[in-house]
């Protein structure tokens, strides 16, 4: 009650006072500027587009340097992201520029999972920042902010409409990052076709609810130029690192047998507009939007997932600390419970296997006994047979002897008979 009273009174007490002389706090912006210049700026660009559509060349053209970039092959198995960090300096302003390339995007035959690595990368950067924010000992002002500030989506210049892959990917990305769609290799589309193409693309984006980045129109200094640029989206760009002599100047251009396409000529392509918007006017706004809108959205979703709420059922503001403690206890309890379960399972399994093994042992034992008995049986039978056989042999021998003696006797008797007859005859 007391707190709200004080608030109300302080609101009423805010009055506008006029100054009597020059105080000097109008130098505050300058102090801020010199501080941030001393700190250095950092900017992260994500380039999404098919292989060979001109991402690296455009980056080289935009920043007027040659970032080392080897050509990617078309035969990657999946999409992977390749971040490269460069330190640039212009006048006395340092810029830490990170360019993230999508390698292999749009090359696979089945592109249903192509958007996943990109979304995962963006989420990881947000996650890193969130972790840093939640730490006890933070170093936010020192850490290298790797969150993606802008996604340049390169549309292939077919002249008809967006490709299905483009639509699907942009829908997945529009709530996570600022998207600026650009028509790449625009020197293949004539003026009338370009006009139709741009209208078709914007209408498709609108009808599918894709939210691309709108240049801010609330700051009077830039509102006019931003509003007119918004009407030129998507920018049709041509990139080139080669220089061609036009008139008596060397300009960056592409030389064809039928003419020369100058990169910085506004009637040839929208490169100048893109550079204005992206770098010279709205870079800071892009960073702000990333932090204030996309990062906050991510943070809110993530924390809600973990179970945090802003107010508890009694509509008392929740302290993060208490919720954190409660969550932690719950988590530890869960862990212990799971451990117990696993231990139980393990013990049960061990018992089961032991029982099985015992069973098997017993069976083996039984078998062994059984076999032993059978063996003994067999042995006995064989012994019996042997004895029988021997008896038979003996019997046979006896009979043989008996037969022989009988034969011998009969022979003797036969030889005695004729003697007797002779004797009778003599008498």
């Amino acid at each position: 009650m007391d707190a709200t009273d004080i608030d109300k009174s302080s609101n009423e007490e805010k009055r506008n006072l006029s100054l009597g002389g020059h105080v000097g706090f109008d130098s505050l912006p300058d102090q801020l500027v010199s501080k941030s210049v001393a700190q250095g700026f950092c900017f992260n660009i994500l380039c999404v587009g098919e292989t060979g559509v001109g991402k690296s060349t455009l980056m080289n053209t935009l920043f007027n340097t040659m970032f080392e970039n080897d050509e990617a092959s078309h035969y990657q198995n999946g999409v992977y992201l390749r971040p490269r960090t460069y330190d640039l300096q212009e006048s006395n302003v340092h810029l830490k520029l990170t360019i993230v390339d999508t390698v292999g995007f749009g090359d696979q035959i089945n592109k249903e999972q192509s958007y996943k690595p990109i979304v995962d990368y963006i989420d990881t950067q947000f996650e890193n920042y969130l972790q840093e924010e939640l730490k006890i000992k933070r170093a936010l002002f020192n850490c290298h902010d790797t969150r993606i500030h802008i996604c340049l989506y390169f549309i292939a210049p077919t002249g008809h409409s967006l490709k299905s892959l483009d639509l699907v990917t942009m829908k997945k990305l529009d709530s996570k990052v600022n998207i600026i769609p650009i028509i790449a290799k625009a020197d293949t589309i004539s003026k009338s076709e370009l006009h139709k193409f741009k209208i078709k693309i914007m209408s498709e984006l609108v009808s599918n609810g894709v939210q691309i980045y709108q240049f801010p129109t609330d700051d009077e200094a830039v509102t006019e130029i931003n509003a007119s640029m918004n009407a030129h989206l998507p920018f049709a760009v041509v990139g080139s690192t080669e220089e061609v002599k036009v008139g008596n100047k060397l300009v960056r251009a592409r030389q064809y047998p039928w003419g020369v396409v100058q990169v910085e000529n506004e009637s040839h392509c929208d490169f100048v507009k893109l550079r204005e918007m992206l770098i010279r006017v709205n870079m800071e706004d892009l960073r702000e939007q990333t932090h204030a809108r996309h990062y906050e959205l991510y943070r809110r979703c993530k924390l809600e997932e973990m179970g945090f709420k802003d107010t508890d059922p009694d509509s008392q503001p929740f302290s993060l600390q208490e919720t954190y403690e409660a969550k932690r206890k719950e988590f530890m309890g869960d862990l212990q419970h799971k451990e117990e379960e696993m231990r139980q399972m393990f013990v049960n399994k061990v018992k089961e296997t032991e029982a099985e093994l015992k069973e098997k042992e017993r069976e083996l034992h039984d078998k062994f006994e059984h076999l032993k008995r059978m063996h003994q049986e067999e042995k006995r039978k064989v012994e019996e047979k042997r004895r029988d056989l021997e008896e038979e042999m003996n019997a046979f021998n006896r009979r043989k002897v008996a037969a022989e003696t009988l034969q011998a006797q009969s022979l003797q008797a036969a030889s005695q008979q004729p003697l007797k007859k002779d004797k009778d005859k003599k008498n």
């Binding site: 035959i109 192509s114 293949t188 003026k191 047998p257």
Partner: protein, 369 residues
């Protein structure tokens, strides 16, 4: 004396023979010409490639007609799950008394969906269907009015935005190179500077050779052709794959009205040889090699299909009947597959039993010993 007379008569004879030696079959080409003009020609051309590569524009430029009136282009949303369709446009065109029945087979939806696995299957099925239909017609009883719907040439459009062939290009050409004459083209060539174009052509040629894709090869010209022709032929072969530009609009260039594309920085002329290879493609496709394409389709691709088909039929028969049979005229009714399976199973079981018995005998033998 007699010899002299004979000699004289022979002299007289040879003069007459000279006249008689002209038989007159040197007029055969003229007769063929007359007959073919009367019969008319037909040609089936297939165009394949992703949406937005300029296929329709090129076809219009090639045949100088407007084949694609009021086309409905699908939105990106509708194309997420699009399947490939086959659409045929047939037109009859005439030039100097020669009639041509031109069929353009279009393949909208190829490569447009998010998941393009096997998106070339409807196309290969279509080509096989045409072969099958011709095969059946050819083997039929009444062969007077066979309609030849076989695809004679397939123009495949490679996007110029990449660094070479992409996996979907490779898979498509591999699936089709043995069924139809594949002519790869680099489309929308007005986005490449001459240096880039050469690099891309070399890349594509290298990859085609490395991956063993058999694209249509121009026949070597005879050795008795003149040097100029041979030179032209060599140039033609070296500039494949052709980098083409098409246009539906006519622009004014130095007082002449030509087909071209108007840009703020210049005008691209479709028929200018230093701008693109459109003229080479047109000459090759229509003026010199149209008949060769048809011949290769009939003699090579169709014969391959036919041989495969017949081989498939005979192998199926020998498997089922287990006898050597000569060329089948009609496919016989196949015996019951189920009983076959049962017999095989029983055979295997028997074998197993025998093996087990043997093992047991061996064991007993060992034990006794």
């Amino acid at each position: 004396m007699t010899t002299n007379i004979r000699y004289k008569s022979r002299l007289v004879k040879s003069a007459l023979e000279q006249e008689k030696q002209y038989v007159g079959f040197a007029t055969l080409p003229n007769q063929v010409h007359r007959k073919s003009v009367k019969k008319g020609f037909d040609f089936t051309l297939m165009v394949a490639g992703e949406s937005g590569l300029g296929k329709s524009t090129l076809v219009n430029s090639l045949f100088l007609t407007d084949l694609y009136k009021d086309r409905k282009m699908l939105n990106a949303e509708e194309r997420i799950n699009q399947t490939v369709e086959i659409i045929k446009h047939t037109v009859d065109i005439e030039e100097k008394g020669v009639k041509l029945k031109l069929t353009i087979v279009d393949t909208p939806g190829f490569g447009d969906a998010v998941n393009n696995t096997e998106c070339w299957k409807p196309i290969t099925d279509y080509i096989d269907q045409q072969f099958e239909q011709y095969f059946r017609d050819e083997s039929g009883l009444n062969r007077k009015n066979i309609q030849d719907n076989r695809v004679h040439c397939c123009l495949y459009f490679i996007p110029p935005f990449g660094h070479g062939l992409r996996p979907v290009d490779v898979e498509f050409m591999k699936a089709l190179h043995e069924k139809v004459n594949v002519v790869p083209l680099i489309s929308k060539a007005d986005c490449l500077t001459p240096g880039e174009m050469k690099k891309l052509k070399d890349r594509v040629k290298e990859e085609i050779e490395k991956l063993g894709i058999k694209v249509y090869q121009f026949p070597d010209c005879d050795s008795d052709e003149d040097e100029e022709f041979k030179q032209q032929d060599k140039e033609l072969k070296e500039s494949t794959p052709f980098a083409v530009i098409g246009s539906n609009t006519v622009v004014d260039v130095k007082g002449q009205r030509v087909r071209g594309r108007l840009y703020p920085w210049g005008i691209v002329e479709v028929e200018n040889q230093s701008h693109c290879d459109f003229v080479k493609l047109r000459n090759m496709l229509i003026r010199t090699h149209m008949h060769d394409l048809k011949d290769v389709t009939c003699d090579v691709h169709y014969e391959n299909y036919r041989a495969q088909c017949i081989q498939h039929m005979t192998s199926k028969l020998t498997q089922d009947n287990r006898i050597e049979s000569p060329l089948p005229i009609l496919p016989l009714p196949t015996p019951d597959v189920e009983t076959e399976k049962l017999i095989k199973m029983k055979d295997e079981e028997l074998k197993r039993m025998q093996e087990m018995l043997q093992k047991m005998q061996q064991q007993m033998h060992d034990q006794e010993q």
